[in-house]
């Protein structure tokens, strides 16, 4: 068994072959060097309550234009809305709806546990780990961006974003 070489080679092959979505993870700040705004690293938490779940993502604005995310949509949910979790002055975990999320030029905004998330409610499908979820994000400047999120175990996205810091 050569566990050390094989997995490394497999991962390298995966990165090289899948191009687009994964290369965004490769370096810091403004990976979308082609000057566009992209939504990447999109995952959907496997719903623990079948009614509701959270979408995690990174908005990578490689353009010179300031933009703002104003809406999200998915065929798997009746409602999709933007929220920010936080802790209030008394130490309570809270959540507030957010009208829009601004993204400065050449910067990234990460939606991760404890912070920003898209809340999907009234899910009309059973979502299992590995399922692909179509999502549409509406930006004031970039317009509509459609992506596919992957359903992951809750917490998996948190671990990834922490490694990215």
């Amino acid at each position: 068994m050569r566990p050390h070489l094989r997995p490394a080679a497999a991962l390298l092959a995966l990165v090289l072959s899948t191009g687009g979505g994964l290369t965004a993870c490769g370096s810091d700040g403004g990976d979308a060097a082609d000057g566009t705004l992209r939504v990447v690293e999109v995952t959907v938490d496997r719903p623990v309550n079948p009614r509701v779940t959270a979408v995690r993502l990174v908005i990578d604005n490689g353009s010179a234009t300031a933009d703002a995310l104003v809406a999200a949509d998915s065929p798997v949910a009746e409602e999709a809305s933007l929220h920010r979790s936080g802790t209030d002055a008394d130490g309570r975990s809270t959540m507030e709806p957010v009208d829009q999320v601004e993204v400065a030029p050449r910067s990234k905004v990460t939606f991760a546990p404890g912070g920003l998330h898209v809340m999907l409610e009234d899910l009309n499908e059973d979502l299992e780990v590995g399922d692909k979820v179509p999502l549409t994000f509406t930006f004031t400047e970039a317009g509509t961006v459609s992506v596919e999120g992957i359903v992951t175990e809750p917490g998996a996205a948190a671990e990834e974003h922490d490694d990215h810091d």
Binding site: L11, C25, S93, H117, M119, E153, A157, H164
Partner: protein
């Protein structure tokens, strides 16, 4: 490299490994963060609470309608007490699933911790909803309910920030505010550690065996 793959496998779910690998490729060119690389086995998840918390002298109800005495029914056991609500999309599911995954990944007394989840949003956290929610995470998790007053009594005994159920908006949606940390009670019946929603399953897995033995720092 092998460490990262081992960690993914450790979390238990095969599909999570697949998803983890897809995203894990992003980490190829990252050097380990210093604290991760230098982490000694003596490190702990969550935070130490000193002086420790006692258990609320309150009787709530299980999802099957039986009384559950927060003191008598947890006597001498390793237990975790969570306050949350089932429609919480962002935090409650995370540390509950992390704890469940950790308990599945290890053997020994730590894997048999008594996990209590009090659904503070009594309007939506009905016994049936609570039961499906907690047992879907781990078959031994215990969902607890009660009157808002009893739940508040238990919460407030711990001096946690009070539970806040917001006013419904035009669509009937309302927000729920609750303390985002769970208490770990060791077999001495004292809560020595608090765990936040960002606790990783690997951290729980490392702490559970020690907590089960009464070690908490």
């Amino acid at each position: 490299m092998t460490d990262r793959l081992t960690r993914r496998r450790f979390l238990g779910a095969g599909s999570a490994v697949a998803a983890g690998l897809a995203l894990g490729a992003c980490n190829l060119d990252r050097s380990s963060k210093p604290d991760r690389a230098g982490e000694a086995d003596a490190s702990w998840g969550g935070e130490l609470f000193d002086p420790p918390l006692e258990k609320p002298p309150v009787v709530l109800q299980t999802v099957d309608g039986d009384d559950f005495d927060l003191r008598a029914d947890t006597e001498g056991k390793l237990s975790f007490l969570f306050f949350g609500y089932t429609n919480c999309p962002d935090q409650c599911p995370l540390y509950l699933t992390s704890l469940g995954a950790a308990m599945r990944a290890i053997n020994g007394p730590g894997s048999k911790a008594q996990v209590l989840f009090v659904g503070v949003d009594t309007k939506r956290d009905t016994p049936d909803v609570l039961k499906d929610y907690v047992e879907g995470i781990h078959p031994t998790f215990i969902g607890l309910t009660g009157t808002p007053e009893k739940i508040a009594e238990a919460n407030d005994f711990l001096k946690f920030p009070s539970i806040e159920i917001g006013e419904p908006d035009a669509e009937g949606t309302y927000l729920v505010g609750h303390y985002g940390r769970a208490v770990a009670y060791t077999p001495d019946n004292l809560g020595h550690r608090l765990y936040g929603f960002d606790t990783r399953s690997q951290e729980f897995a490392k702490d559970l065996p020690r907590l089960a033995e009464g070690v908490y720092e």
